[in-house]
Symmetry: C2
Subunit: 232 residues, 2 copies
DNA sequence: GGCGGCCATTATGAATTCAAAAATGTCAAA
DNA sequence: TTTGACATTTTTGAATTCATAATGGCCGCC
């Protein structure tokens, strides 16, 4: 095989910084590559090549692969290498109800625990997001949207819950960013968020839980539509 | 302490069977050791010693440790080794609401998806469990109880949900088995299960979800009591 | 000309080796 | 006697080496 076309002298070397371990850095780096689509679905991940790219040996890379496999981002077939798992519509159907339930729990807990300052912060984020919605700035809207949901999750004060939610979130992140949401649904989502904010401010846990659940379920439909063009 | 009574010439060597990989076997083995309490809380896990015990090299063991760390069973401090994480009462407070929410989702889905045969199976398990309850056979009761919840989870037909639930389940399994439930609470749990069965048979998803949620929450109190004697 | 088995190559699984950080033990001084 | 600095030992982190299963090409056969 001839030399590769793109020659990068120090592509994205992972420098061993004293505090974190090498394999942890590799995990994060690989996640980024997967999200960026640089490691495409179903393509085999050649260990040697990645090692060269990162400038490390195979040992920490393989440790990282094990971790990512456990997270569900890649699949690890014995003697047959690792490959990025393809996100199927059915996965969306599976993940979103779970995330909805988790957000519902978070919402209930948040209503109990959140400070007035916390509510104020979320309110600020909300109206910032509303502005982006009005202006049709999708990327910014998505970013704020994400942060609001994270804030609610954080306010719940349940690290275990947060961790699991985050892990699931990562799993479908690729699809989520793809989501080319139609205007009508976008308006609806914005209205839902309006209600979510009010309910949180009123500290109506049960209602907020229900709202978040259905909000997620609605989102599920959109996301599924965006990836259903590439069938399993 | 004198030498252990049972001397095992080849203690628990892990033999490389063709299909599964070594590190996966090690993960399972280590989980067992942790659950059995052979690896006590907070004690450092010496790699070399375990390698000798398993008859393997350090590489697959370390890979397994990474995975278990991601599962939350052990903590991995750089250059300071791995140690089994101690189950604190606060962990119970965190985990059970999440499991409750997951079971609620499962209950709703199960009501939609479960076959009549599936209901019949759970009914059989239920009355078997009731018998153990009547006889005061705690271990058997716990076993059946576990299986019923697993059946409901399975009937939901959501692998992602099952996986997360299982992972959480493992995390608190130690505490769960410890649970020396008082008779009064046991009777109450049995009554709750009676209702759970009826609601499932009636396919009332919303109600079943609610029941499972509160059922888990009640259980949480008992479990927490059992580990609160050993404070954080 | 196409298909199937055989051998060389390659990639993965695991063991070993090397390096570096942390734990331990020793000895001296306050 | 206690404390603190230093040297030694131990343990972990990472690289390298070895073994083995899978991949791919080649040749013979149908």
């Amino acid at each position: 095989m001839p030399a590769p076309v793109t020659i990068d002298p120090a592509p994205e070397k992972i420098v061993p910084n004293g505090q974190s371990t090498l394999h942890e850095d590799v995990v994060n780096k690989l996640r980024e590559l997967i999200f960026d689509g640089q490691l495409a679905d179903e393509t085999r991940i050649p260990e040697k090549q990645l090692c060269a790219r990162f400038g490390i040996s195979r040992t920490p890379l393989r440790e990282a692969l094990k971790v990512l496999a456990r997270e569900g981002l890649i699949s690890l077939l014995p003697h047959r290498g690792a490959r990025v798992v393809k996100l199927k519509p059915s996965d969306i159907d599976e993940v979103f109800p779970v995330m909805g339930a988790l957000e519902a729990v978070a919402g209930e807990a948040a209503c109990r625990n959140i400070s007035e300052e916390g509510i104020a912060e979320i309110r600020a984020l909300h109206y910032q997001m509303a502005l982006h919605h009005t202006r049709g700035e999708r990327a910014d809207y998505f970013r704020l949207n994400q942060r609001i949901h994270e804030k609610i999750m954080e306010a719940a004060g349940n690290p275990t819950l947060s961790q699991i939610y985050k892990s699931l979130s990562l799993r479908i992140r690729r699809a989520r960013y793809m989501a080319n949401i139609p205007q009508q649904r976008w308006d609806q989502a914005m209205a839902e968020h309006e209600l979510i904010l009010q309910t949180l401010a009123a500290r109506d846990g049960a209602k907020l839980g229900q709202l978040l659940k259905t909000h997620l379920l609605n989102k599920s439909e959109v996301v599924k539509a965006t990836i259903s063009d590439s069938p399993p």
